[in-house]
Every structure is written in structure tokens, then in C-alpha cells.
């Protein structure tokens, strides 16, 4: 206690108190999280404002006679006549290692009940994206652990890859699987406008898989104000930029930007800004472009860190040509399109391989994956083209039949249960079997059983082979021959076993 008093006295003695000059205003109208303020002639755009009683706000509308500000926190505390001051600061959030493993709100305050977060560093919520000179091209893969994605729409560190689809098509599951598969990447999951129960389930799932130890969850749920939902993605990006500036890799998932656009629309309409298409304000493109441009791969001179963004957009009735989806598609470096029809047909993840693309492509794949995944896209495209004839398979020529059968097996291999990411070396092995035709002899309904048993066999008896693929990241001639030998041996054993079971 004596030490504490001494410390306080020392701090007071060291203080240089000065007279202050402040710019003030008074609230003339308040409601729905928006305050109209008279005065504040020196207020700047996006400046943090201090209301009487400790509530903060952001100056967003600078008009001739008044300021339109959004209020953070409980706006019912603000009344007409409340004095407002400018602070001379822009909105900042606490950043640092102490946030990892925690659930915070859009202002960086903890909401998981695990105590206060001591942070010495603050980063601005709004920041200009890294320039051209500071960047380098995306080369390092970010493995999702989902075979379909890592094989055909590979994502690199520093890329922006959109996950788009209707409700309940597995968008969040793809994102969570990606987080679970990471080990050296700091992950940030931003929940915008979602149910609080869903966020709680998600956090529990991440904890179950040990993924919370490298994850920050920023929650601006449906019960939070539109203002909090609006700044949540920017706050989360600021938290990611702290790690990027230290040379680390960050993965950030915005779930979802459709609700983010709706929150911004609500705010803009309440601020009486002119509305445009679908009642969105005119700068709704800039809302997302300035957010996603902050995800980049920096060159070695600037630390070599990266932020990979996986924004999620929810479409209505599969319409990817709507306003917000087309905006975000044009900003990102590719999209993963999830279809309801595929989902209900049992193909999960329900990725439409034809419409999904990664503009980074093979640059973000290991050599091993490139060598096995090359024919996959083409084979699946041919299968899709011939799929309509599948019901008449008895009338088709042998080549066409073989292509259809190959396609069925590849589709079966690409199915994957949720929350079960597959390591890179195992993905390579199983895709090798599929593309080299080793699975042609296995019945379609036995493919999953084959996959599980084959991988188990490799883990138990051929650990060295898997280790070498993981280390070298390529299938050289020696490894290919060894893998071929092991595969053939296992297939003959497997077929004998399945024949015995049938009897």
C-alpha cells in the first residue's frame, strides 16, 4: 500500500499540468446510436469525440452547421444538451500478444470473462493500406486442410480469397477448418452481426481442437449496435497489422461482410447520407476495398509478414451477380463458391469447382501438390460435362464410361467431414491415388473406407514416407516410386479384405 502511494506521488510530481484549450459542442438531437451536435467547429473526419459521462463517439458527418456522430456504447446515456469535446485523436484499439486466445468486442475490450487485457500498444482502426513498393508477390501456401481447396483453388499467404454461398452451405465451416489447420499463423475470426450463441459454439469448437491458442475472436454480434458491427472488421485488421509488422503471418476471417454492409447502410441512412442502389450509400465499395487492401504480403525489407483475408459473403438464392457480392468479387483475388444443390446432394464441402477460382493459383502450391492436383480440375470438368449421361452409362463407349467412373471417385475423395482438416502430405497421397487411377478398381461406396484405412496404414507403417513428403514438399522420382509401390500393395490387400467381407 505504501509503495502504491509512493508510486502515485511520484507520478503526480512528474506531471506537467497545463491549461487546456478545447473545442466543444452540444448535442441537439440523439437517437438510434446517432447524435447531431452543434458546435465542434474544429472536429475532423473520423475524430474521436468525448461525451459527458465518458461515452465516446466518432465524427462521421461534417456539415456546415452541425456534426453527425455515431456513439459507441449506450446512447441512452446521452441527452439533448450533453456537452461533447473533441479529443484530437482517431479511434484506436489495443493490440498485442495478450489478445491471442481471447474473445473481444469491436473496441478491443474482453467479453469472455477472463479478465482485463493489459496492452501497452494501440493501433489505429483506420489505416492506409501498404503501398506497392512494400509488397511482394504471394508465394507461400496457406493450407486449409480441405483437399478440394488446397488442390484446385490454393490460397497463398497475403491473398484475399472470398468464400461465397447461400445460407447453410458450409462457409463458416470452411473458415473454421482453415483456422484449426494452422499452427504458425495467428488467426483472427471476426463475427459480424451473428447470433451470440453461434459465436459461443464456435469458440467452444476452436477450444476443443486446441485452435484458440493461436486465435483472436472479435465479436460484434446481432445485439451490438450497427456502429460496433461497422468498425469490428477494421479493429480486427488493426490487431492483425500488429503481428504483420513483426514479420508474422496472420489469417483473418470476416464473417460476414454482407452483414457488415447492412450495418453500414443502417448507419448511413440514420446519418441522412444520400442512398444509392439497394439503399446502400454511394461509398459501399470503398467500405470493403479499403478493408481488404490492408491484407497483403510484405517484402523482406518491411518484415516479410502477411495478412491473408478470407471474407465471407452470403448470397440470396445463389445470386452472385447482386450488388455487394459483385463488389467483393471484384476486390478479392478469387472466390470459393459453395452451392446449396451440392450440399444437399451430399457433396461437402459443397464447392462448385467450375465457378471457384484462385487468381494466385499454382504459385501458392507446393510442388508435391501441383504434381498431383494438375489433372484433377480437368478430370472433374470432363466429368461434369458427361455427368448428364451417367444415367445411360450402359449405352456409352468404354472411354466415356471410364471418365465418368474416374470423376465419381474423385468427387468422393474430395468429400470431407467438418472440423477434420487433413495435413498436406496426406492430401498429396490421397490425391495421388485418385489422379493416377489407383482408385478406379475400388467401388465408389468404398472410397471413404479405403482413404481412412490407407492413411492409417501410412501413419503406422510408412511414417518416414509421409515425413519426407512433408519435408521436401515435392514428389521426386524416388518418393513417387515408393508411394506407387505402397499404394499397389495396400490396394491388393484392401480388395482381398472387401471381397472376404462381401462373402
Amino acid at each position: 500500500m505504501a509503495d502504491l502511494i509512493q508510486q502515485i506521488e511520484k507520478e503526480i510530481q512528474g506531471l506537467r499540468l497545463k491549461s487546456t484549450k478545447e473545442n466543444i459542442g452540444r448535442v441537439i438531437e440523439v437517437g438510434d446510436g446517432i447524435a447531431r451536435i452543434d458546435g465542434l467547429s474544429d472536429a475532423q473526419y473520423s475524430e474521436l469525440l468525448q461525451f459527458e459521462g465518458g461515452i465516446t463517439g466518432l465524427a462521421l458527418n461534417l456539415e456546415r452547421d452541425e456534426i453527425g456522430a455515431v456513439i459507441f456504447g449506450d446512447f441512452t446515456e446521452v441527452k439533448e444538451g450533453t456537452v461533447v469535446k473533441t479529443t484530437g485523436r482517431i479511434l484506436q484499439v489495443p493490440v498485442g500478444e495478450k489478445l491471442v486466445g481471447r474473445v473481444v468486442n469491436a473496441l478491443g475490450n474482453p467479453v469472455d470473462g477472463k479478465g482485463k487485457i493489459e496492452s501497452k500498444t494501440n493501433y489505429p482502426v483506420e489505416k492506409i493500406a501498404p503501398g506497392v513498393i512494400t509488397r511482394e508477390s504471394v508465394r507461400t501456401p496457406l493450407l486449409t486442410g480441405i483437399k478440394a481447396i488446397d488442390a484446385m483453388t490454393a490460397i497463398g499467404r497475403g491473398q484475399r480469397e472470398l468464400i461465397i454461398g447461400d445460407r447453410n452451405t458450409g462457409k463458416t465451416t470452411v473458415a473454421i477448418d482453415t483456422i484449426i489447420n494452422q499452427s504458425d499463423v495467428i488467426c483472427i475470426y471476426v463475427a459480424i452481426g451473428q447470433k451470440t450463441s453461434k459465436v459461443a459454439q464456435l469458440v467452444a469448437k476452436l477450444e476443443e481442437h486446441g485452435a484458440m491458442k493461436h486465435t483472436i475472436v472479435v465479436a460484434a454480434t446481432a445485439s451490438d449496435s450497427a456502429t460496433m458491427q461497422y468498425i469490428a472488421p477494421y479493429s480486427a485488421t488493426a490487431m492483425g497489422e500488429y503481428f504483420m509488422d513483426q514479420g508474422k503471418d496472420v489469417l483473418i476471417i470476416y464473417d460476414d461482410l454482407s452483414k457488415h454492409a447492412q450495418a453500414y447502410r443502417q448507419m448511413s441512412l440514420l446519418l441522412r447520407r444520400p442512398s444509392g442502389r439497394e439503399a446502400y450509400p454511394g461509398d459501399v465499395f470503398y467500405l470493403h476495398s479499403r478493408l481488404l487492401e490492408r491484407s497483403a504480403k510484405l517484402n523482406k525489407d518491411f518484415g516479410g509478414g502477411s495478412i491473408t483475408a478470407l471474407p465471407i459473403i452470403e448470397t440470396q438464392a445463389g445470386d452472385i451477380s447482386a450488388y455487394i457480392p459483385t463488389n467483393v468479387i471484384s476486390i478479392t483475388d478469387g472466390q470459393i463458391y459453395l452451392e446449396s444443390d451440392l450440399f444437399y446432394a451430399g457433396i461437402r464441402p459443397a464447392i462448385n469447382v467450375g465457378l471457384s477460382v484462385s487468381r494466385v493459383g499454382g504459385s501458392a502450391q507446393t510442388k508435391a501438390m501441383k504434381s498431383v492436383a494438375g489433372p484433377l480440375r480437368l478430370d472433374l470438368a470432363q466429368y461434369r460435362a458427361l455427368a448428364a449421361f451417367a444415367q445411360f452409362s450402359s449405352d456409352l463407349d468404354p472411354t466415356t464410361k471410364a471418365q465418368i467412373e474416374r470423376g465419381k471417385r474423385m468427387t468422393e475423395v474430395l468429400k470431407q467431414p467438418p472440423y477434420s482438416p487433413v495435413p498436406m502430405e496426406e492430401e498429396v497421397v490421397i490425391l495421388y491415388c485418385a489422379t493416377k487411377g489407383f482408385l478406379d478398381e475400388i467401388e465408389v461406396d468404398k472410397i471413404k473406407e479405403f482413404e481412412a484405412r490407407f492413411l492409417e496404414q501410412l501413419r503406422l507403417r510408412h511414417k518416414k514416407l509421409l515425413g519426407e513428403i512433408k519435408e521436401k514438399r515435392e514428389l521426386d522420382e524416388k518418393l513417387s516410386k515408393e508411394l506407387e509401390k505402397v499404394t499397389k500393395e495396400f490396394i491388393s490387400t484392401f480388395q482381398k479384405t472387401t471381397k472376404k467381407d462381401k462373402r
Binding site: I12, L15, S19, K21, E22, G25, S41
Partner: protein, 129 residues
């Protein structure tokens, strides 16, 4: 005449109604008479804007002094001389015991705080970090 032009007209009229920091009654009355001649909806808008602009002009030239104890005439004169450059023509003095000590000035939306309560607030902020 558009709303924007009407607003601008009202602002110009308010500036013209002021001389040496005070409202010139005759000019104000003539502007009000002029605005009343407009169609009703425009007249209402113009008068509203004129009133707002006049209020702003008044605040710009008014110095509000808050102190904990009453000030003498010479003290008030000394203070107003310090603000000569800001063309202050009206002075309002108020007692505010919440200041605890010292003095506080306000011109329009700018506040110069030399009070003890403000110093205490600075200490509190410094300790809280």
C-alpha cells in the same frame, strides 16, 4: 431560389447585421421584413437560418467567463483586453463553484480552461493511464 442559396443569403444577412460585434437593430429588422415577403415555406426557412446565423455571430463575439468568486470591473476589463484580437464585444460573467478555483473562458465553441477541476481531471487521467 434553392434551399442552399437561401441558407447562404441568411448567413450573409447575419454578417451584415453585425457591426463592431453587436447586432444593428435597424438592419436586422429590415432583413426580417425582407424575408417575410418570400413565399411562406421559404420565409420560414430563411428566418430560421437567419436566427441560427445571428446566434452563431453573437456567440463568436461573446466572451463567457466562469469563476468561483465574483470578479471586479477592473478584473473583467483586464480579461477582455486579452481577447481584443478576437473582436469580443459582449462579456457574460457567471459563477460556477464546480470549478473549485481558477477561471474558465468560452468564445463560441472554444473553451480555455484554467480551473482547478480541470487540473484534477488531468491528474486522474494520468494516473489511470
Amino acid at each position: 431560389m434553392t434551399k442552399r442559396k437561401l441558407k447562404q443569403l441568411a448567413i450573409n444577412a447575419s454578417q451584415a447585421s453585425f457591426k463592431n460585434g453587436k447586432v444593428v437593430d435597424s438592419k436586422a429588422r429590415s432583413f426580417i421584413k425582407l424575408f417575410k415577403q418570400l413565399p411562406t415555406s421559404k420565409a420560414v426557412l430563411a428566418l430560421k437560418e437567419y436566427q441560427k446565423a445571428l446566434k452563431y455571430q453573437l456567440e463568436k463575439h461573446t466572451l463567457e467567463i466562469e469563476s468561483t468568486t465574483p470578479l471586479s470591473v477592473s478584473e473583467v476589463k483586464k480579461i477582455s483586453n486579452q481577447f481584443k484580437d478576437l473582436s469580443v464585444s459582449n462579456i457574460v460573467v457567471r459563477l460556477n463553484p464546480d470549478l473549485l478555483g481558477g477561471i474558465k473562458f468560452r468564445i463560441a465553441d472554444t473553451v480555455y480552461d484554467y480551473s482547478i477541476s480541470d487540473k484534477i481531471r488531468q491528474v486522474k487521467e494520468a494516473i489511470n493511464g
